[in-house]
């Protein structure tokens, strides 16, 4: 009897050990949220519908198309990237709700390319992605505050900040148009405030500063802006608004016969947005002769290896989408994300992903013309702008064939001029780092 009990216990123990061993062997060595043996889940919040969707709604599908291309070529260390796109309508509360869904319901490994200053700030504060350890890679905003590593330890910027751009424009103005009566159009939020601080640091005094409330841009408000610029006899007008605002300013000015030298900020110079806002396919003609600042090549530049490769991928994997700067941004971010995931090791975790960008991020290939500034102490990406002139088709062309970068920081550092320098595009657009 005792013997049979012992035998029974032995069977149970053996079965328990065998089951445990089976279970343990079934668990991957590094189980991370959003990472399985076959897939890496990422999430993005962008305005896919609503007033701000024009242009911006092309960024996420472009990124997804680039990932589809990478997946078709073996993925990242054998894992396919699954990008989940959420529409935040450009409303911060929606961004909070959608990010919650991505992190808590879809269980993504990281948020990538989240768009909008207010949205990213709201998410950082209320979802507290930093305390959750969720990486927010290459946010789609130039707000300089995201470079504060202490405040946003898991957030990485890609674009040069609005303050950097304003400082670069200030330096360009001093150099090329020192005596002109200069005026500026700014958005009345952190986007505009960041730029205003940069212009101030850059030492520019504007004859007229017009601030508009985001979302109120219309033909009627445009008449007021242009009226103010014309009354102040502005010879140079810096349009540092979003695409819809800049388009309205250009349209109203053209209708009224007002022709200053325009300088277009990089945020509001997207051709697709300008054409859609003015509901006129020929609207790019209004940009003709305007000076523009940009941190990357123009998407229409067929000689650029990045633009050329992305254009090819777009044709095959992003059916029907016209290749423009929004598509270029989406794919550029995708290229960086793939390099970051590869650098994070064969079994990437949220921690190893952040550590990889801090350690190796400055060596990643990027379409931007300035060096990436990622390090253990900096989450800043691109740091410089080049200046060119728009042609009739709305393409930004270098005046002398050179790409002189005006590189600076978001604080009081000087603006340094250097020739563009970047790493070559990885073979076939597929990182092998």
């Amino acid at each position: 009897m005792i013997g049979s009990k012992r035998k029974g216990l032995g069977v149970i123990t053996t079965a328990a050990i065998a089951t445990s061993a089976l279970l343990i062997s079934a668990i991957p060595a590094h189980a991370e949220v959003g990472v399985s043996s076959s897939e890496i889940k990422l999430g993005i919040t962008v305005p896919q519908t609503g007033p701000a969707a024009t242009g911006y709604n092309k960024v996420a599908p472009a990124m997804k198309a680039y990932f589809a291309y990478v997946n078709a070529n073996g993925g990242v260390n054998g894992r396919k990237i699954n990008l989940i796109i959420k529409d935040d309508k450009y409303i911060p509360q929606e961004a909070i709700n959608m990010t919650n869904e991505l992190i808590l319901k879809d269980k993504v490994m990281a948020i990538v390319g989240a768009l909008g200053t207010a949205n990213n700030l709201a998410v950082a504060s209320k979802v507290q992605i930093a305390s959750r350890g969720v990486p927010s890679l290459f946010v789609n905003t130039g707000y300089s505050g995201f470079a504060d590593k202490k405040k946003f330890p898991t957030t990485f910027a890609l674009f040069p900040s609005y303050a950097m751009e304003a400082k670069a424009i200030a330096a360009y103005l001093k150099e090329n148009l020192p005596t002109a009566k200069t005026c500026v159009l700014l958005q009345n939020d952190d986007f505009g405030a960041d730029a205003a601080a940069g212009f101030k640091t850059g030492g520019v005094t504007f004859t007229e500063t017009v601030k508009y409330v985001s979302g109120t841009q219309s033909s009627a408000t445009g008449q007021t802006w242009i009226g103010k610029f014309a009354t102040a006899k502005c010879e140079v007008v810096v349009l540092f608004g979003v695409g819809t605002a800049n388009a309205i300013a250009l349209g109203v000015a053209a209708a009224g016969g007002y022709k200053p030298q325009w300088i277009l900020g990089s945020v509001g110079s997207d051709v697709t947005t300008i054409k859609a806002t003015l509901n006129n396919p020929q609207a790019t003609a209004l940009m003709n002769g305007a000076i523009g600042a940009s941190w990357a090549p123009d998407s229409a530049d067929l000689t650029d290896e990045y633009a050329k490769q992305f254009r090819e991928i777009n044709t095959t994997y992003n059916a029907g989408a016209v290749f423009d700067n929004n598509v270029m941004v989406g794919m550029s971010e995708g290229l960086l994300i793939v390099q970051a995931l590869r650098a994070a090791g064969t079994n990437p975790t949220r921690k190893s992903l952040i550590a990889a960008i801090e350690k190796k991020g400055s060596t990643f290939a990027s379409a931007g013309y300035s060096a990436l500034g990622y390090s253990a102490t900096s989450h800043v990406g691109q740091t410089g702008f080049w200046f060119g002139k728009y042609n009739l088709a709305g393409e930004l062309k270098s005046v002398d064939g050179k790409y002189t970068m005006y590189t600076t920081d978001s604080a009081a550092g000087p603006v340094v001029k250097t020739e563009q320098k970047r790493l070559p595009m990885p073979a076939k657009g597929l990182p092998s780092n």
């Binding site: 896919q48 519908t49 609503g50 969707a53 709604n57 529409d87 409303i91 911060p92 509360q93 909070i96 709700n97 919650n100 869904e101 808590l104 319901k105 200053t117 207010a118 700030l121 709201a122 504060s125 209320k126 507290q128 305390s131 009345n188 939020d189 952190d190 409330v213 985001s214 979302g215 109120t216």
Partner: protein, 322 residues
């Protein structure tokens, strides 16, 4: 119901909900906090419309006043969180008292129009004065949960607990005031203002009081919404005011208890729409219009079949059976 028994019921149901929050997923806890806050917002309309017979399409504006006041006092004066809740509630109540003075002279569509103008106009003020920080809004925070709650007590459980306790306290107050002589006065006003006046009720004063309390309740709801969400103009737009009115109609404008049902619907519809839109292929036309379509259909069905709300319909059905 005896007030002591009512108090006991409120405490028990609060404890059950708090305990439940420890067992469900974090996303559901966040949605739970949203439901509690929307229920309070809807209650502010139920009190005003269902009890005193006044129509307000602008309670979202009072929510904004509450949220902005609380956020500003936290940012500039570093007041403790619970004090900011009081500030938010009373600021909105003060605004309600001021507006109520004018509103007492208006009725029907004129009052609806005046409150609608408030809902449209007030959020835009945030873009006119730098103190409100424009579209970026204000960072109003409840901080992180105390460490002695343990690691498993997550941020959203913290949000839920704070929201629920505040909502239940305010609901208890509302339940008591509506069954007091003030509640009876408002009901008399709603039924027949002339008869109420002949019975010695001060029509103007009673209306202003209802408006003030309703605004204060909305102010607390707004403060809590700002705590878990976004304090900025887009957070308190016209859509919020309309959503609250819709929630009030869905839950039956005369039922405080039914406000929970309206709140559940408000939170559930976007998720339901997202699931359906996904099945239909996620086209822009579907995803952007489906939530509105579902909400409007529900609203029409409610008005047609249960004009006093499902809760009231069930109660009547039971009464008929007896």
């Amino acid at each position: 119901m005896h007030s002591l028994r009512r108090l006991f019921l409120f405490i028990i149901s609060s404890l059950i909900l708090l305990a439940l929050s420890l067992k469900v997923e974090e996303l559901r806890v966040y949605q739970g906090a949203q439901i509690a806050i929307y229920a309070l917002g809807i209650s502010s309309i139920v009190l005003l419309t269902g009890y005193s017979g006044q129509v307000s399409l602008g309670n979202g504006a009072f929510m904004a006043i509450g949220a902005y006041s609380a956020a500003l006092t936290q940012i500039h004066w570093h007041l403790p969180l619970f004090v900011t809740f009081i500030v938010g509630t009373f600021s909105a109540a003060l605004a309600g008292a001021i507006l109520g003075g004018g509103a007492a002279r208006l009725s029907g569509p004129y009052l609806a129009g005046a409150t609608l103008a408030l809902a449209v106009g007030l959020p835009t003020l945030a873009n006119q004065f730098t103190i409100f920080n424009g579209e970026t809004g204000l960072d109003y925070t409840a901080g992180t949960p105390p460490t002695w709650f343990g690691e498993s007590f997550t941020l959203y459980k913290w949000f839920f607990w704070i929201a629920l306790i505040n909502v239940m306290l305010m609901m208890f107050f509302l339940r008591n005031i509506t069954s007091s002589r003030y509640g009876r006065t408002w009901k008399a006003l709603r039924g027949n203002p002339v008869a109420a006046q002949l019975s010695g009720i001060q029509v103007g004063g009673s209306k202003v009081l209802a408006f003030t309390i309703s605004a204060g309740v909305a102010g607390l709801a707004g403060t809590l919404l700002g705590m878990i969400g976004f304090v900025g103009p887009t957070g308190f737009g016209l859509g919020l005011s309309f959503a609250l009115v819709t929630g009030a109609v869905l839950s039956g404008v005369t039922s405080l208890a039914g406000s929970m049902l309206g709140a559940v619907v408000l939170v559930a519809i976007p998720e339901l729409a997202s699931v359906v839109a996904h099945r239909l292929g996620d086209t822009e036309r579907v995803t952007s219009n489906l939530p509105g379509l579902i909400m409007s259909t529900l609203l029409i069905l409610t008005v047609l079949f249960t004009p006093n709300g499902p809760a009231e319909q069930i109660r009547k059905h039971k009464a008929r059976k007896q």
